[in-house]
């Protein structure tokens, strides 16, 4: 299991387009993927779940990956967060 803390750094925050992209990336991997925020646990492979997250610029999330390809999954998704969803 891998646990990573990430921060939202783009201006628009976690809006619909990056939410969709995150779910699409997660779907490529076999590992489970959960997002924790303010006590809420969201399945990162569920678009409707991720859409319930209100994550403005500056907010912090915890990502948890668990499974055979957790390392690769964590790497790609964390990178997407660090790039500010390509909106910097």
């Amino acid at each position: 299991m891998i646990e990573k803390k990430v921060k939202i750094i783009n201006n628009a925050g976690l809006h619909t387009r990056p939410a969709a992209t995150i779910v699409k990336i997660a779907a490529k991997y076999k590992s489970d993927f959960y997002i924790y925020k303010d006590g809420l646990k969201i399945n990162g492979k569920s678009i409707i779940g991720v859409m319930t997250l209100a994550a403005e610029k500056g907010s912090e999330l915890t990502l948890v990956f668990d499974g055979e390809d957790e390392k690769e999954a964590a790497e790609e998704i964390v990178k997407y967060f660090e790039e500010g969803f390509g909106e910097l």
Binding site: T16, A20, K24, K45, S46, I47, I48, M51, T52, A54
Partner: protein
């Protein structure tokens, strides 16, 4: 006939002639409340859920494909997310599991499950989360709607009279699969979709009844009088006996009219009128031939195919168009390219504040060139036997015609290269239904091969009256002097330019209007097949000379009331036989 008790009679607009007696079926599709219904067969429920998800996906894909340029990135992103929700493994698994364990209807579970997410969103302090909750609402309703549709179909018994608020093209498709005996609607006028389709299929209809769904209960016995616009609820024996007599009389009349089948549509003094049919549904095709139509003056291609789900590809269109053209050969068939928008459902969820002034007809097609090309190619290929013409809807400028011609030429070159057969000299015409096109009739007559006047839209645009808006429907006047003058101008300019001018709107099917239209010099009328025999009889009962005089008199009148009186007086003096007595009461 005894004076009937007025209490059990509702009145509305007579939209499709004929009389039907049958059981009422209340079709209330917009009921918001989702029933918590227990089910037995959970496998079947899961199966319907999957079908509804697939159907929703198909709908969204089309919306997404057509509208992406118009929507902007943000809305496009939302559509993409909606598509993904339909595949959301967590959500779908929860719904399926709950259907199986709780044994409740899929609509209920879908509503309950998706609403949970909406609740989280709307409780958030971020304002954009509320908006997001609305988007989720859209997808939820789409799934529920698709789940319901299937249920409706399975619940409709045959031989019923459908009573509903309003009928959409999608509903019609649903109803044509069962044997509906008649329609009663709260809303809509003579030119509403429901009315046009009912006439096409020769099913009696009364529209614009306002309180039909309030007063009629499921299972009530109804007499539907589509000639006078009356609905009698649970009739007494006298009323039943009277109407049964009338039905017999109507049948007699139809037999009598059927004898005219092979007679030409010619006035007493020898003026020949080309009398054609409009084609809205493929089921009408036999009807068109049976009624002795001299070709088809308007094929509404957007109705022939159910474009609310997906657009047909070139082969599918080619097969359909060829079938129609061959059936009518050697008579001509005029295919109109898709006229989508206005009151004809855009297969795209773009909500326009003024759809009639919006993205419809040729405007939509020229923004979706591939769609237009596919259709033109299919029409060209169907023209191999040289009895096909192409017509463009909603033309308002010369540029639109020129641009379409360029595309048509491209299609021809392409087909030639592929060695496919088509008519090199295929005629291209336009609908005259926008005032700018009417004003430019002279200029347009140099650009195209024929005009077809679409009175439904032309009248509404000239008079600035929304034909579906009941507050102003009285101002929708086909005998308004401005309408008569516009028709006169279009016909004269068309003739000067040596092109043929026909009319394909509902006005052509109005027995009162026919003498005036012929007097104005129209050489061709295109009407629904079911009204064709009556129009033929009208034409055969008048003199062209008299009709011309009538038209000239009408052109000098200044109010609708005067013109209407004139036209009515003409009608009264020329038609006194059985049909009209029956029609008039």
């Amino acid at each position: 006939m005894k004076k009937p008790v007025t209490k059990n009679i509702l009145s509305g607009i007579p939209a499709a002639p004929g009389i039907a007696i049958g059981k009422a079926y209340l079709y209330q599709k917009d009921k918001e409340y989702v029933e918590k219904e227990a089910i037995e067969n959970t496998d079947a429920a899961v199966e319907s859920l999957k079908e509804a998800l697939e159907k929703s996906k198909k709908e969204l894909k089309k919306i997404f494909g057509l509208a992406v340029d118009k929507m902007g990135d943000k809305r496009a992103g939302i559509f993409e997310a909606q598509m993904m929700i339909l595949d959301d493994p967590v959500l779908i698994k929860n719904i399926v599991d709950r259907i199986q364990t709780e044994k409740l209807s899929p609509e209920y579970i879908v509503n309950d499950e998706i609403s949970k997410y909406q609740k989280i969103m709307s409780e958030s302090s971020e304002p954009y989360m509320k908006e997001r909750s609305h988007d989720i609402e859209d997808i939820k309703n789409r799934i529920i709607r698709n789940l319901r549709k299937k249920k409706w179909v399975s619940r409709i018994e045959s031989d019923v009279i459908v009573v509903t608020d309003v009928i959409t093209p999608a509903d019609t498709v649903l109803f044509t699969r069962v044997n509906v005996k008649g329609y009663v609607t709260n809303f809509g006028g003579l030119t509403s979709h429901a009315a046009i389709v009912a006439r096409s299929l020769n099913i009696p209809a009364v529209v614009g009844v306002h309180d039909a769904t309030e007063n009629i209960k499921n299972g009530d016995i109804l007499i539907l009088d589509g000639i006078h616009g009356k609905v009698i609820i649970n009739p007494d024996e006298d009323q039943l006996a009277e109407y049964k007599k009338r039905i017999e009389k109507l049948n007699e009349l139809d037999t009598q009219l059927a004898k005219l089948k092979n007679e030409p549509a010619v006035t007493i003094d020898g003026k020949k009128i080309l009398l054609q049919s409009n084609l809205d549904l493929i089921e009408e095709l036999d009807f068109v031939v049976e009624h002795g139509s001299e070709g088809i003056g308007l094929v509404r291609t957007e109705q022939i195919f159910d474009v609310t789900n997906s657009f047909p590809d070139e082969e599918e269109q080619y097969e359909m168009y060829s079938k129609i053209a061959q059936k009518l050969y050697p008579e001509f068939v005029v295919f109109r390219t898709f006229d989508i928008g206005g009151d004809k459902y855009l297969p795209v969820d773009i909500k326009e504040p003024n759809p009639f002034l919006g993205w419809r007809g040729i405007r939509f097609l020229l923004d979706n060139i591939n769609l237009l090309k596919t259709q033109l190619r299919a029409m060209l290929r169907a023209s191999a036997f040289k009895n096909v013409k192409i017509m463009l809807p909603m033309i308002s400028s010369i540029e639109e015609v020129r641009k379409t011609k360029e595309i048509l030429d491209e299609c021809k070159t392409g087909l030639e290269r592929e060695g496919k057969q088509f008519d090199q000299n295929i005629e291209l015409g336009i609908m005259i239904e926008v005032p700018s096109a009417a004003v430019l009739s002279k200029e347009f007559s140099d650009e195209v091969d024929f005009f077809s006047i679409g009175t439904n839209d032309l009248i509404q645009y000239i008079l600035a009256v929304d034909r579906g808006n009941e507050n102003v429907s009285e101002q929708y006047q086909e005998f308004h002097p401005a309408v008569v003058k516009a028709l006169d101008y279009i016909i004269k300019e068309g003739k000067k330019g040596n092109i043929s001018v026909s009319i394909c709107g509902e006005m052509a099917a109005d027995l009162l209007a026919v003498p005036l239209l012929i007097g104005l010099g129209l050489d061709a009328l295109s009407v629904s097949a079911s009204t064709l025999p009556r129009i033929k009889k009208t034409i055969r009962s008048i003199k062209f000379e008299d009709a011309k005089r009538l038209a000239n008199q009408c052109l000098s009148l200044k109010t609708e009331k005067e013109i209407k009186e004139k036209v009515y007086a003409f009608y009264k003096t020329h038609f006194t036989d059985e049909i009209e007595n029956l029609l008039e009461e």
